[in-house]
Homo-oligomer: 139 residues x 3
């Protein structure tokens, strides 16, 4: 039973940019030799998060507002006082949302709901070239 | 080393109903051919979440209140303005809590703490028939 | 393809003590017979959480403040009224942050970002001897 490690890359706008990565992830499963198993998506960094959502404009706007309530940009962060990069809120949001997401698939198809998409949330305060690790384990 | 994909179903009351699914998950591991490995529990939908908790009435009530603080039902959600289904808060809670949970097991026994149960949180605003995907990988 | 179940132990101060466990986890991967795969880190308990962060003093202080905003210690928890142990906030923080974290590794090296460390958050209100389960699956 093989393990395949792949990656996807994309450009983000930052500032809680919400990217639908479902089709890119699905494509990597298709390209792999594995039929059934799990794919672990991982953010190799500390200012981005992974989750799922019904990807529509209303909720994309609502999740940005929820993140602003959960870890506001305007308050004091010790990280900012120390490093002057102004992204303390980005790190805190990333730690709470989490950098790892595991999704089961069967016959190369992820078992997502009809209205459920995989999202990367770029919490950093600038545009970034992002790389995500995808590791597929199965048979 | 096999991969087994199973599912469990149950009925919820919605409105942050907190369901202890530990025994249903344990039963599926028992029924599988796998002795040691991981079970990935996955919500194929965008208004439910998975986590663990000490399942007792006090904390079940406390987590409902915590979710109301984290993503209040009463505030404006763009999703509601657009779709009129009034469950914007349900989607946001689901995205923050997360749709995937991975638990290791040995000799068919999950390595949970003594006072730790697996919970499904139904954030939707109505009763639902829920289905969860369980994928077991191991030896 | 083997499954290896290991554990690490350490002492915490409690009260949102944030422990960098990266080197302890890396050591267990090195000691295993598995080259490429995933490691699932799991908290067998209901008052601790796992995530990743850029582990520096500013953010360690910021995450403690964020947890205090997310689930304040001073408010009423039904759990405390019932059990008198005063750690209702600890349980709620643990349920929201999550007890499970899965990280891919290749050639025994976890695919973490340069400034990304693995942390255990002890939300309990006292010093604890903590044990984490590490399960490694791969080839």
């Amino acid at each position: 039973m093989p393990v395949e490690t792949r990656e996807i890359t994309f450009i983000t706008k930052g500032n809680c940019d919400v990217i639908d990565i479902t089709s890119q992830v699905a494509e990597e499963i298709k390209l792999s030799k594995i039929q059934d198993g799990i794919i672990t998506i991982f953010v190799p960094g500390s200012t981005g998060g992974l989750s799922t959502i019904e990807y529509e404009g209303g909720l994309v706007s609502d999740i940005k507002e929820a993140m602003e309530r959960m870890a506001p940009q305007g308050i004091e962060y010790k990280h900012n006082l120390k490093w002057k990069d102004g992204n303390g809120h980005s790190h805190i949001r990333a730690t709470i949302v989490g950098a790892s997401l595991t999704i089961p698939f069967v016959k190369k198809k992820m078992l997502l709901g009809t209205w459920q998409q995989i999202i990367f949330l770029d919490f950093d305060n600038c545009s970034r070239n992002r790389r995500l690790v995808l590791q597929i384990i199965g048979e």
